[in-house]
Amino acid sequence: MARSEIGSVFARAAADQRLAVMPFLVAGDPSIEETVRLAEACAAGGADLIEIGWPFSDPIADGPTIQAASKRALDRQVGRAEVLEVLTQVRRRTGLPVLLLSYLNVLLSMNDLGPLKAAGVCGLIIPDLALDEPAAIRVRARALDLPVIPFAAPTSTDQRLSEIGRTIDPDAFVYCVSLLGVTGQRQAVSQAALGLLQRARERIAAPLAVGFGISGPDAVSAVSRHADGVIVGSALIDLVQRQGRKAAVAVERFVADLVHAGHR
């Protein structure tokens, strides 16, 4: 079933002539219950897929917002059991496909990825696993039919993009990094993002989702004609931090705005 889930997300969005919207939340921030509640709010706002981040001590691809969220979760003792609990609950309550974003070392520490599958995860995003490493983790994920989402960056050469196109797991999409930098909100979408999307489109058949720095509806509109989906993390987490107890309502509205802005 997982195999078709991601594919159908993009198929449905394409049919609606809009981008798939994929909000990102850190498991356990501000609490297990809140993460689940916020995921439900995303779903209510029209999100197509939920990404859950496994809090990690050394998130090298993340900017201050997600670093802080990870740290808050870790400080509250969010560990493997709690992350699995969040994944299970989010899947169950939202009914949406769930992707797990985790740095490699956390996954390497699991003898068995089965529990992820059991929790309903339908794919893995591993920010420190580039194409070059045919690391054992790929084999293990593939055995469970868990696609590993590849990244493309403005610095990726055409040759590399072609290689991504050739080697991408069935049912995966490409995570297109919109800028040179780590996660975190940016004023506007960079030219680099559009260039990358264009080059990727020519070389990759799989859907393209844009992430890193997408701050809100304007950014979504800016890429709506060039991509198939957007990933929004820091902007969402900043919003939750700002809103406190009223976060769920605000998140639902924000996601709805993103979905709206994603129409072509």
Binding site: F56, S57, D58, P59, I60, A61, D62, G63, Q67, K71, L74, G79, R80, Y103, L104, N105, V106, L107, L108, S109, M110, P127, D128, L129, A130, L131, D132, E133, A135, P150, F151, A152, A153, P154, T155, S156, T157, R160, V177, L180, G181, V182
Partner: protein
């Protein structure tokens, strides 16, 4: 035992490239520039020029007779990297990388630093080759190595204190990697040890191998034979790799000494002794981590050893048994530092003192007629304030 990694930078099952996609092309570019440079006699001559005329290479191999006599065992020789310009082995690597940076047409440098020695060494070459430079340093290290912070600033480098995590070297590397991702077009990240993604481990080891190459011919000249044992401290592992590598095919025993901090059962930084394989900062290697793969905070009085990772080649050497990895507590290091200082008049870095402590123990064990070469990776000026604090706090203690 392969002495070079495969094309992907794998040392057996260690090494590789585990970084965000954004960096991959820069690593490819660096790998290409490095390979070409090492085959280019102009580059090698330039490297040799700066090593000789600026750093002051070859560094001395000093026969520590007074210490040897005091211990009453094997003959101890000190490879005096502390006499290099800027006071540590780190400059061997930064000169090489700065020359490569120029070759790649980049003109900005960033670096992480723990003890500050690599930061100073990077700031130094940045000044020398007129490049812009920013150094990331854990806020805790900024405090305990304030001398080096000021040195970097006087060299024209911006020092950015990193407040995240344990506020030490690990976090400085995280931040440097983040900064590199954001600036990779015109900026080279000068990694300071044999760690990080390929080609860094091999490249840094290559630039540091001048230590072992010199030591090998010096000891042959001085004693007519190879040494029985090599000893070096292991933080990321660059001074150790630089000393060991040229002796790999020889019948020479080697010990890498990690920081046991307050003890192996308390807070420490003994990655190879107490860690397990994992992925940190771009490479697969031993890592200090908990059951669930969260990286642990390391602890060592010595900022340069205070790191929960280690270079991948050391992981291979450990697994293959080619090198033994020992550890040394803060207290043992301080007392070795003082002993060396008061018998030989050489005030070494706290990092190096870990190697000295092990060498003293091994000299006793091996007994006379054997010879030990110890890498004195740096000088202790940067550590006197921290030592002072330590000695004040342990006044009643057994030091």
């Amino acid at each position: 035992m392969p002495t070079e990694p495969d094309a992907g930078g794998h040392f057996g099952e260690f090494g590789g490239r585990f970084v965000p996609e954004t960096l991959i092309p820069a690593l490819d570019q660096l790998q290409a520039a490095f390979s070409e440079a090492m085959a280019d006699s102009t580059f090698l001559a330039e490297l040799e020029y700066w090593n000789r005329t600026y750093t002051g290479r070859p560094s001395l191999l000093y026969h520590a007779r007074a210490l040897t006599e005091r211990i009453g065992g094997a003959e101890i020789y000190l490879k005096r990297e502390d006499l290099n310009h800027t006071g540590a082995h780190k400059i061997n690597n930064t000169i090489g990388q700065a020359l490569l940076t120029r070759r790649m047409g980049k003109h900005k440098l960033i670096a992480e630093t723990g003890a500050g020695q690599h930061g100073v060494a990077t700031a130094t070459v940045a000044a020398l080759f007129q490049m812009e430079c920013e150094v990331f340093m854990g806020a805790e290290d900024v405090r305990r190595q304030s001398l080096n912070v000021r040195r970097m600033e006087l060299l024209g480098t911006r020092v950015t204190a990193v407040e995240s995590g344990s506020r030490t070297l690990k976090d400085a590397i995280n931040e440097a990697l983040r900064a590199w991702v954001a600036s990779v077009g015109d900026t080279h990240y000068v990694i300071g040890s044999v760690m990080g993604p390929h080609p860094f481990p091999k490249m840094v080891r290559t630039f540091q191998s001048v230590i072992g190459q010199e030591a090998r011919s010096q000891i042959l000249e001085m004693t007519g034979r190879l040494p029985d044992l090599l000893v070096a401290a292991v933080g990321g592992g660059s001074n150790a790799a630089g000393l060991f590598h040229p002796f790999l095919d020889d019948a020479v025993a080697m010990v890498g000494v990690e920081a046991a901090g307050e003890g192996l059962d308390a807070r420490h930084a003994a990655t190879l002794s107490r860690g397990r394989p994992g992925v940190l900062h771009g490479a697969r290697s031993y890592v200090l981590q908990d059951e669930e793969g969260q990286i642990l905070e390391a602890h060592s009085l010595s900022a340069g050893l205070d790191y929960p990772g280690v270079g991948p080649e050391h992981s291979l050497w450990k697994e293959s048994g080619r090198v033994r990895y020992a550890s040394c507590t803060d207290q043992q290091a301080v007392s070795a530092l003082i002993q060396l200082s008061q018998t030989e008049g050489v005030l070494c870095a706290l990092e190096s003192a870990h190697a000295v402590a092990e060498a003293i123990e091994q000299a006793r064990r091996l007994g006379p007629k054997k010879t030990i070469v110890v890498c004195l990776s740096g000088r202790g000026d940067k550590d006197v304030e921290e030592l002072n604090r330590y000695l004040e706090a342990h006044r009643d203690g057994q030091i």
